[in-house]
Symmetry: C2
Subunit: 237 residues, 2 copies
């Protein structure tokens, strides 16, 4: 498989990535408040032990997510939270481990409820042949895992299944949700209980409806799954 098409996450193990993560974490946790200006570049470079080159690349990453803005003579300030792009995979991954944010998946569920049924409906209408094949492959994997249950594998495959639906919607704006969803699912691996059965029947209903091209049924099936599953995990609780 072409690497350009493989990974979803954006874990950047380089220095600039680490710096970006470190600062982002402080901003997201509120340790650095909105409106506050960061110490100057030389100071922070010294403090973090990196060169200006790496540091500035890190800042560009934060900038492009709407978290900071820089001006000469002023410095780099943290923008208002309303400008942060929470629908960004990296940003979500940075939130992992921030204690005060661990309940944010509840907010995400409210978004899923609004958008995912419609995504399923679109997928039923517009999924290409290739997308149907991949959806089938993924669903079959889910069935296998449901039989011989493994928590981590289930979550990963479940996320992939739902992501595939968003991709199959044929709408550019729906696609990013699939990626965000995958990022959120990674959280659940960290602190989800090992018990509870999977909603394989509910997923089958969604799958069947999409394959049958029945958008109304797909819409309802998705709604039904989200209704049953308080955690948005594909697990009944």
């Amino acid at each position: 498989m072409n690497t350009a098409f493989a990974n979803i996450g954006q874990t950047n193990s380089h220095l600039n990535g680490q710096v970006a993560r470190e600062i982002a974490t402080k901003i997201l946790s509120g340790e650095i408040a909105e409106g506050e200006t960061l110490p100057s570049e030389p100071v922070l470079c010294e403090k973090m032990g990196v060169s200006r080159t790496a540091f500035r690349e890190a800042i560009k990453i934060l900038y492009s997510k709407g978290m900071v803005e820089s001006k000469p003579r002023v410095g780099t300030r943290v923008r208002c939270k309303t400008n942060w792009n929470f629908l960004d995979v990296q940003l979500l991954e940075w939130m992992v481990g921030i204690e005060t944010k661990k309940d944010i998946y509840l907010e995400f569920l409210d978004l899923r409820k609004a958008i995912e049924p419609q995504a399923c409906a679109f997928a039923a209408e517009r999924a290409t042949k290739e997308q149907r094949i991949e959806l089938t492959t993924t669903f079959q994997r889910m069935c296998a895992i449901a039989e011989d249950f493994d928590q981590d594998q289930w979550i990963e495959t479940d996320a992939q299944f739902h992501r595939m639906i968003f991709i199959s919607s044929g709408n550019s704006f729906y696609v990013p949700f699939g990626n965000v969803l995958v990022a959120m699912f990674k959280w659940f691996i960290l602190f989800s209980s090992k018990d509870g059965g999977v909603c394989i029947d509910e997923h089958r209903e969604i799958y069947d409806a999409i394959m049958a091209g029945d958008s109304t049924r797909a819409f309802k099936a998705s709604q039904s799954l989200m209704q049953k599953d308080k955690h948005g995990l594909g697990k009944s609780s």
Copy 2:
């Protein structure tokens, strides 16, 4: 007003911003295909007449939007489109002027239909006092503009009104939509016709419902506006 809370857009007039825009445009338009690797850094720096520093900062911006990934000895390759974050203000702004993308607002409308009614409902339930005040101020401006009609001002204020609703939803994941919406509305200024009346009554219904704290009514009012308005512009056509 604190500058950290003022601007929504992210127009970066610096060199790295220009470079980012230039390359992003070529990627978005398909001139540089998915999976393709860019020429090496020294080559592109020469070609564009900038230093590696500025160039690499530009690439970091694209990277953080999921558009490219870099590896030593391999180069920088364009990632699969499914990884691009279309729910990003800068990315949307870069799309302006790409001829083949000018109908993408139709896709966006499909997203709005799914999410905005729910945002209105949440806003009715959870808008803070300050948010209600700002919403009121904005709505009053809309009314004034509707009287003494000005196309550009209408679009700008209309966008601000809808953005305020997303912010008032109290859900971190709904907020970015408001910003994306503003970016999309900027397009309309470019190629919208000057005729057509504004849907001030429909907007008033949404506003009243939110102020009354009636989420069901707010939901329906938003649906109704989107139904009536084929372009999602707040204008009947």
